[in-house]
């Protein structure tokens, strides 16, 4: 009675098929090593990791949202507002820094919850709800800070430093957040529900998944991750800036999509997102090392992003 079953691919091939962006990353790294002698040093590679960290953490948060078929345009603004909240409560309100950090995370989560409530109960398209939040959070960051940077508490700024002489903490935070994202997506009920909602929202609903509640969790996670990204960003500068991370939402979404997710939902993995963020960071780092002129950099980044994903889609078509 069994129908013909296609031969299963080898595990390595299957892994590659699901993580095609890795190929693009490897090509990019090899090319840059050949072009620039400075690229393949340990310090430079650690730098790339640090430079990827903020985008990657934002992108992990965006992965949850994109897996549900949504989009979160507010992550950059929410990161800035969260960092400003931390610095402000610690400085102007004199709160001890651990408490201030909690406030900051709560602010991020609250922003996510507001977006989610608009989406789940107000039936707003995610694009609109989070575009609104983009403006609201940025505006509040400017209002609270009165438009000027606020110094971060020293204890928190340590986050921007290194453990020992070399190991950068932002890198560690990135990896930890990535693991958390991967575990949530793969192993928890909310994570699996995200895939179900993004794949077929009606089927999810009819299977008893409380779609509204799961969306609240999803966007709250995105907001929380944005807060962590904002704190890491501000720690690196030892200062919370109201205009920080402006426009980062496009980078974050690009990282997720380069990493193999689909904006129509149901697909996406934390590892892919990490690779996507690394591709962007490697690219910017490499162009700086190669002293490509300011104007041409934008052109080259555009071309390479297209090529990176093209490699992936063509390879995929070849194997099918």
């Amino acid at each position: 009675m069994s129908a013909d079953v296609l031969p299963r691919r080898s595990p390595a091939a299957a892994w590659l098929a699901e993580n095609g962006a890795v190929v693009a990353l490897v090509v990019l790294v090899v090319a840059l090593s050949l072009l620039s002698g400075d690229f393949l040093s340990l310090t430079n590679l650690l730098n790339v990791g640090v430079q990827a960290a903020v985008t990657a953490i934002l992108a992990f948060g965006s992965t949850f949202v994109i897996v549900t078929g949504g989009i979160d345009l507010s992550v950059g603004s929410v990161a800035a507002l969260s960092a400003i909240s931390l610095a402000w409560t610690a400085t102007s309100a004199g709160m001890p820094w651990p408490l201030a950090t909690l406030v900051s995370l709560a602010v991020g989560v609250a922003c996510g919850l507001v977006s989610a409530a608009l989406i789940a109960y107000g039936k707003l398209p995610p694009f609109i709800a989070t575009l609104a939040m983009l403006g609201i959070a940025r505006g509040l960051a400017l209002v609270v800070s009165e438009g000027s940077p606020i110094a971060m508490p020293d204890a928190v700024s340590e986050l921007g430093g290194t453990i020992g002489a070399y190991l950068p903490i932002p890198l560690i935070v990135m990896v930890v957040m990535g693991v958390i994202a991967a575990v949530i997506l793969n192993r928890t009920y909310p994570g699996r529900a995200m895939y179900a909602i993004g794949g077929n929202q009606e089927a999810a609903r009819l299977s008893g998944i409380k779609v509204d509640r799961q969306l609240l969790i999803t966007y709250a996670l995105s907001g929380g991750f944005a807060a962590v990204a904002g704190i890491v960003l501000a720690s690196r500068l030892a200062s919370a800036q109201p205009q920080a991370a402006a426009g980062y939402e496009l980078d974050a979404i690009a990282a997720v999509v380069i990493g193999g997710a689909s904006l129509s939902g149901g697909k996406g993995r934390a590892l892919g997102t990490l690779v996507g963020a690394l591709i962007l960071a490697v690219l910017r780092n490499g162009l700086n090392l190669l002293s490509v002129s300011a104007f041409w950099q934008q052109v080259v980044i555009g071309v390479v992003i297209a090529l990176a994903v093209l490699v992936d889609t063509l390879r995929r078509r070849g194997t099918n």
Binding site: G147, S148, R236, S239, Q243, N285, N288, L289, S291, A294
Partner: protein, 290 residues
Amino acid sequence: GGEGGGAGEAELKLGMSVSTLNNPYFVQLRDGAQAEAKTRGATLTVTDAQNDASQQVNQVQNFTSQNMKAIIINPVDSDAAAPAVKAAERVNIPVVAADRGVTGAEVAQTVASDNVAGGKMAAQELAAQLGEKGQVAVLQGTPGTSASRDRGQGFTQGIAAYPGIKVVAKQPADFDRTKGLDVMTNLIQSHPGVTGVFAENDEMALGAIKALGVKAGQQVKVVGFDGTPDALKAVQSGTMAATVAQQPKLLGKQAVEAAVRVAKGETVQKTVAVPVKVVTKENVADFLTS
């Protein structure tokens, strides 16, 4: 001076379109303007053009709808501001340009610091601190903005006078502190011999200083532009070699003063040059108190 007064002045409505408030420099400019408006009993409406020339035209247009008595424009771009200025003057609302000039249209007064001159001064100061030799990297502002253009031009002209100094890298960091940090980090890899940095504003300079770590102020001299409070502190602590201070508060104050006067039909000087000053450790105390 607070001359005049009386009931009429409470009605005095002024509009000011600032190129962007996403930068402490312009926040200071606005603060200076607002403080001055308050002392003169004028109502000042400030809008933020978010670095978009056409949004700025819209805002000036809206000021004319509101029957402002005078308009202060801090141009996003000197060329692109002309049509807006002409439109305001067509309905007889005088315009004062602040911080950057307007090319291609007459304004009642231009209150500005000279970015080309500032760039030159930065070059001279950096050269002096480097002993007129060494490798220099430039962190450029947002490509295509007049501030980046003018400062870059001034710096290039200025540094040409020192054959011992070589500009080895120019990379954009978009007037942004984080980008300044990342770009400088990368430049250290490709150009480990860099001993001097010119950043086209203080935000990028502060990012670069972060990237340089203990080398900042020691092996590597960083010169910024603007004289923001954070930068002045850095100059004081020695991590920033110098900054070309504009005096944004003074600029704002001066602009409002001129606007109030032209609104009342008085004539004012065509240009007021608010000087830019090089701030170093020696004179930073004067700026910190002011």
